[in-house]
């Protein structure tokens, strides 16, 4: 039980937990104390002095230790000078005056000083309209400055801090929120103060500039227009924007976001997304999102999107009507019957996947999930139970991250795991190579490629690590497929599951297995019954394949070959992908921003997203297309509102039982309070009014005892003498269909590059930054060479989704570029 303290703020009695800062106590009581440098997610700095208040504490008689009374009331000893509300901790009987004459004079003085150095850019400033300095000036500032206008401070105005963020040094009020965010929250201290006094300025000290994947968040918490995104630069005025609650579909974290939209002449009068803002969900993404989520939304408005159905006529894909296309697709599937195969990607919503699964079941066909991470069935059994919040983990808890580069694959999980480690949780990182998480880890375990499963099985036998796992109050295990293929990752999942089951860490909150999936809704696909196919190429042979939201041909030439050898290919996509180019029928799908739906995150939290923009051209939502095909086959599939599909889903899939759209839209009060009129406090993150989502019940927490999965014997492929082994790794920024349309990210995506050990490079006569030709799976590609001494010799890291055919560890040949 936390100790409570009662104090009086502006005459109002407030009771808050001991240790609360005065500024937070006031916020909880609904009293505004203006701040610039203080942010509820960071330690106070006391720099801006905006939160000056009058502060008094009961006078204590030194002799007796009792409060001195005056007319029966405790006598208050007032601090001689104004105090900052952000650095003072509440105490019993404290009296705070936030709007007294003295306090107001102090606040006014600070604002006046700030404004003497702040340009009158408000008309063109991207922050104008949602600017804490603007708002606080109106609320607390003097009406008129006593200082001379021509003595205003001038500084550099257009400073690019990397490609994504612009800095205006003149607008900066040196509150240091960005510097502290990067250092304390993101753990990437790439911003700093330079110079001193009036010349103090923000600089970036990384190469490339502002080298952080969380850089966009600094624009949210910047209390002025000093840091703005290049993406939204002069895009619109904030008050002109409409907002729609949504989810980020880039990774399995399921960050809550808000799309800001506007009808735009530049886009031919269409309503388009102008920017992505985080939406608060303290149990998922708090108030942050990563730069990929913030800047990679442009695919939805790409001119390259499919506009209408296509049918292959005389060997050419030609426009067709929906009727024709659907009739043809239905006829092909009907003819195939059991010989049909449905291949779905994790970009689809639960509703889409449910209809696809029902279609497959109706046909008696196989339903395959297109992914390189296995073990989702185990997550279904011993995944996180409801009530889980990564923010609760700390001292005494253990987090294991296995075969996963969390930083690249799920940045916000990385952030939250790092913060848990900062709070004292024991972090164990098990990987074949060094990752960004290592420096926060208590234990780093390396294995030779191929030994991943054996290493995980042996963890409990190690003294300290074994104890850290066994004796953990809570144990979370993240796993993926770093350097592995589907089989390898399935074994890793099984080994991790065994660790959890053996040590009894499952079936309760903050314990369990988390798959770090490549897509937003892979977990949902597993729950609905999709399973990946170890040898997809073989499975495709001779089948009539209905592919939705996946591009196997683009990823792997072997799969392209397999699709050419397959029977009929029906593709449902956003873009004319390599796979779509092989298709008989191409069905243009609506992007998720154009419709409603739900995703199941890797934490097994089902969350809703809402339509942000109108549907593009003649597209239809995926579940509608599937339903209309199904109806042609005489199946009873729902093509109405997604909520109706979801109702059927909850009725049929046990894990979803009891859920409804209404339940998913429920919200609870969250701390800190953000997104209301008081933007100065938490930043421009949106308040969550549209739903925090609901955890699926893990089978284990429902009392079902999980079965110990069998771990595949033997090991994965190992590097051979004289030959390099290419292992697939995931990069945050890649050429995936949902990323490559964002021009701004091009520099961060870069050219395809392989990473090898310096010794290997020396042997081959290659240098860092040089170009080389690699031969992989019978294909030649030109790549850049990067060096990394933490990876094992004989191994080359090859990024997925960068146009290189790497779906599994495979031999690689490297030669000089032509």
């Amino acid at each position: 039980m936390t100790e409570l303290v009662t104090l009086s703020i502006d005459g109002k009695q407030v009771t808050v937990p001991k240790g609360t800062l005065v500024v937070d106590a006031a916020k909880q009581a609904g009293i505004d104390i203006p701040v610039f440098c203080y942010h509820p997610k960071m330690e106070p700095a006391g720099m801006c002095r905006m939160c000056l208040v009058e502060l008094g504490r009961p006078m204590i008689d030194r002799a007796t230790g009792q409060p001195v009374l005056e007319n029966g009331q405790p006598k208050i000893q007032w601090a001689p000078k104004l105090e900052t509300a952000c650095t003072n901790v509440v105490s019993d009987g404290m009296v705070v005056l936030t709007r007294s004459e003295k306090a107001r004079a102090g606040q006014q003085e600070i604002l006046e000083f700030l404004l003497t150095s702040h340009p009158l850019d408000c008309p063109v400033c991207d922050k104008g309209g949602e600017c804490p300095l603007q708002n606080l000036t109106l609320d607390y500032g003097p009406g008129k400055s006593r200082f001379l206008y021509n003595e205003k401070h001038h500084a550099e105005k257009h400073v690019p801090l990397g490609e994504l963020i612009w800095l205006d040094r003149e607008r900066c009020i040196q509150c240091g929120r960005c510097v502290r965010f990067q250092r304390l929250v993101a753990g990437e201290p790439v911003l700093a103060f330079d110079e001193r006094g009036r010349d103090t300025e923000i600089i970036t000290n990384s190469e490339p500039a502002f080298d952080s994947i969380f850089s966009g968040n600094t624009t949210d918490i910047c209390p002025v227009g000093a840091l703005t995104t290049a993406d939204f630069r002069f895009g619109a005025r904030p008050w002109e924007l409409k907002s729609a609650a949504s989810l980020c579909a880039q990774c399995p974290v399921g960050c809550n976001i808000t799309f800001n939209t506007r009808r735009e002449a530049k886009s031919g009068g269409r309503v388009v997304i102008k920017r992505v803002m985080p939406r608060q969900n303290e149990e998922v993404n708090e108030i942050w999102i990563c730069d990929k989520g913030r800047f990679a939304y442009h695919f939805t408005e790409s001119e390259a999107r499919l506009r209408q159905p296509l049918i292959r006529r005389n060997g050419q894909l030609q426009p067709a009507s929906w009727e024709e296309a659907l009739d043809l697709a239905a006829a092909k599937l009907k003819a195939a019957g059991k010989d049909a195969l449905i291949l779905a990607g994790g970009r689809l919503s639960n509703e889409d996947l449910f209809n696809l699964k029902k279609l497959a079941d109706g046909l008696g066909a196989q339903s395959v999930l297109y992914t390189h991470v296995g073990g989702g069935d185990l997550v279904t059994q011993i995944g996180l139970a409801s009530g889980t919040n990564l923010a609760d983990l700390g001292k005494g808890d253990t987090i294991l991250v296995a075969a996963c580069d969390l930083y690249e694959e799920a940045p916000i999980w990385w952030l939250r795991v790092k913060q848990a480690a900062d709070r004292g949780a024991t972090l164990i990182v098990v990987n074949a190579r060094a990752t960004r998480l290592d420096k926060h880890a208590g234990y780093v375990v390396r294995y030779a490629p191929g030994d991943e499963t054996v290493t995980l099985q042996g963890l409990l036998k190690q003294d300290k690590i074994g104890a850290a796992i066994r004796e953990a109050g809570n144990l979370l295990v993240f796993y993926a497929a770093d350097g592995l293929d589907l089989n390898g990752s399935t074994s890793v999942a099984a080994a991790c599951a065994n660790l959890l089951i053996e040590t009894g860490h499952f079936g309760r909150p903050n314990n369990g297995l988390i798959g770090v999936w490549p897509h937003a809704n892979d977990q949902g696909a597993w729950e609905i019954g999709f399973r990946p196919e170890a040898d997809l190429a073989a499975a495709l042979k001779g089948k009539t394949v209905y592919i939705a939201a996946a591009d196997p041909a683009g990823d792997d030439p072997r799969l392209a070959k397999a699709l050419q050898d397959a029977g009929t290919v029906i593709v449902q996509e956003l873009f004319q992908t390599a796979t779509a180019s092989l298709a008989e029928v191409v069905l243009p799908a609506a992007a998720y921003t154009e419709r409603e739906g739900t995703f199941t995150s890797g934490e097994r939290r089902v969350q809703r997203y809402y339509p942000a923009v109108p549907r593009w051209a003649e597209t239809k939502a995926d579940y509608v297309i599937t339903a209309e095909i199904g109806q042609r086959l005489g199946l009873d599939l729902e093509a109405g509102a997604p909520a109706l599909v979801f109702n059927r889903l909850t009725a049929e899939i046990t894990a979803f039982a009891g859920l409804s759209y209404r339940k998913l839209a429920e919200v609870r009060p969250q701390w800190p309070i953000v997104g209301r009129a008081d933007l100065y406090y938490g930043g421009t993150t949106y308040e969550n009014k549209q739903g925090l989502g609901v955890h699926l019940a893990a089978a284990a927490s429902a009392g079902e005892s999980p079965h110990l999965p069998e771990v595949r014997k033997g090991s994965g492929p190992r590097p051979q003498e004289d030959a390099l082994l290419a292992v697939p790794v995931t990069k945050l920024y890649d050429l995936g269909v949902t990323v490559r349309s964002s021009v701004l990210l091009e520099a961060r995506i870069g050219l395809p590059a392989i990473t090898i050990h310096p010794l290997t490079a020396e042997k081959m006569g290659l240098k860092a930054g040089e170009k080389a030709m690699i031969g992989l799976g019978g294909h030649e590609n030109e790549v850049l060479v990067k060096l990394d001494e933490t990876i094992p010799a004989g191994v080359a890291l090859v990024p997925r989704s960068m146009g290189l055919p790497v779906s599994a560890p495979a031999p690689l040949s490297v030669g000089k570029a032509k």
Binding site: P44, A45, G46, M47, C48, R49, M50, L52, P80, K81, L82, T87, A105, G106, E109, I110, E112, F113, L114, T116, S117, R146, F147, L148, E151, H153, I173, Q174, F193, E195, R196, G197, R198, D199, T200
Partner: protein, 423 residues
């Protein structure tokens, strides 16, 4: 002229005074031998009884500060402040250049008393000779067994090293100095926690000015009562006064606390140069409020100066004669502070510049009606709202100049020229 037998500067006039041989030959390190045989608590008690107050500017009782150091912490640090950034002050420089061993002795005793095994010296980067002397003195002290493991067979260990600053005034503030010692920009820290709880590298740290430390061996050797016998009721002991400005003999003068400002200026420093009349005195370094000529009978002690609205500060007496334009004096002093603001907090970063701009335009004869009121309001806005005590310090030149010489400011505003020098 009253005579005072020098205590802190007793060695500084000797040839080769900085050498350990000279120091030892004149009774050096006797206090260390004595102290290491005493109980740490005994020493703290003794320092408390002596009434020694910090010589760095704030005048905090040294013994009380020692008492704040946690007893049970496994690692503690003594940080020695030789930053001496206060304009007008040059006493620490003399001590460190001419008698560094007296400070080392003070450090050893203080470290022994509070249970610290590590001492860091922070010295102003521009003190090139001082740095050399510090390094040599520490090396010699190691060689003679006064530093290092098992000092003089007492079982007490102390390591000491010197670190140079990069030239920021604010690094004289104890927490900014600690930041700078840690290799970070010299910005003051939030207090609490105070250095005695969380100081250098997060460890309990005792921070002292070197003049304070130089007093310690004498207290040990001659007793707390002897020390307390010098000075006034609340200000005990000898003090080095750095006299500069329009006097005939500027320099360091060691005198007992409580000596009158008049005696320092007219007897020791030889009076005002060129036979001019005294106009104003800054009694304790640039950050302390100046006094007009008719207040120089004040005894130089913490409590007496405070009573008339000034401070003892570092005891750096800056003398200004009748040819001085007070607007110019205030402007120059304020420019220094505006330049030295660390930039961390708003009122100091921006307010100091604004203050300077207003003073500058008044001096140039471009002042506007209401500027004097604006000046005082700006002073009000800075004093008491800043992060560290620098805000309260930086407004002193302007505020005290207006308090005592308002007519001069008004004359500048009304006649657009200086009443003193005619420009």
């Amino acid at each position: 002229m009253s005579t005072f037998e020098p205590v802190l500067t007793r060695n500084t006039r000797r040839p080769d005074s900085e050498k350990i041989a000279t120091y030892l030959a004149n009774g050096g390190y006797q206090a260390t031998r004595m102290a290491l045989k005493m109980q740490p608590d005994e020493i703290i008690e003794m320092v408390k009884r002596s009434g020694l107050r910090g010589r760095g500017g704030a005048g905090f009782p040294a013994g009380v500060k020692w008492g704040f150091m946690p007893k049970d912490a496994p690692q503690k640090i003594v940080a020695v402040n030789t930053d001496e950034g206060e304009p007008g002050t040059f006493k620490d420089r003399e001590i460190v250049e001419r008698d560094p061993h007296s400070v080392i002795e003070g450090v050893i005793i203080a470290a022994y008393a509070v249970g610290a095994n590590r001492a860091y010296v922070y010295i102003r980067g521009e003190f090139f000779l001082g740095v050399k002397r510090w390094i040599k003195a520490i090396a010699d002290a190691y060689e003679h067994g006064f530093l290092g493991k098992d000092i003089l067979g007492s079982g007490f260990n102390l390591d000491m090293s010197v670190h140079r600053g990069a030239g920021a005034y604010i690094c004289g503030e104890e927490t900014a100095m600690l930041e700078s010692l840690e290799g970070k920009p010299g910005n003051p820290r939030l207090k609490p926690p105070y250095p005695a709880q969380t100081g250098l590298f997060g460890l309990p740290t005792l921070v002292h000015n070197i003049e304070t430390l130089a007093c310690i061996p004498h207290i040990i050797e001659r007793g707390a009562e002897w020390f307390a016998g010098i000075g006034t009721a609340e200000s005990k002991g000898p003090k080095i006064f750095s006299v500069s400005g329009h006097v005939n003999r500027p320099g360091n003068y060691e005198l007992p606390l409580g000596v009158s400002l008049r005696e320092i200026i007219y007897e020791h420093a030889g009076g005002i140069r060129n036979g001019r009349a005294l106009k104003a005195v800054i009694p304790g370094g640039a950050s302390t409020p100046m006094l007009p000529a008719d207040q120089i009978d004040v005894p130089m002690a913490f409590e007496t100066l405070k009573a008339i609205g000034s401070e003892l500060g570092t005891g750096a007496v800056i003398v200004m004669d009748e040819s001085t334009c007070m607007v110019q004096a205030a402007r120059r002093l304020t420019k220094f502070f505006a330049h030295e603001s660390c930039g961390q907090c708003t009122p100091c970063r921006l307010g100091s510049t604004r203050l300077y701009e207003i003073l500058d335009r008044i001096e140039r004869g471009q002042g506007k009606k209401g500027d004097l009121e604006l000046l005082l309001e700006t002073v009000q806005g800075i004093d008491g709202t800043t992060f560290c005590p620098m805000g309260a310090a930086l407004v002193n030149p302007a505020r005290s100049a207006i308090r005592h010489f308002r007519d001069e400011f008004e004359s500048h505003l009304a006649n657009k020229r200086c009443p003193v020098n005619g420009r």
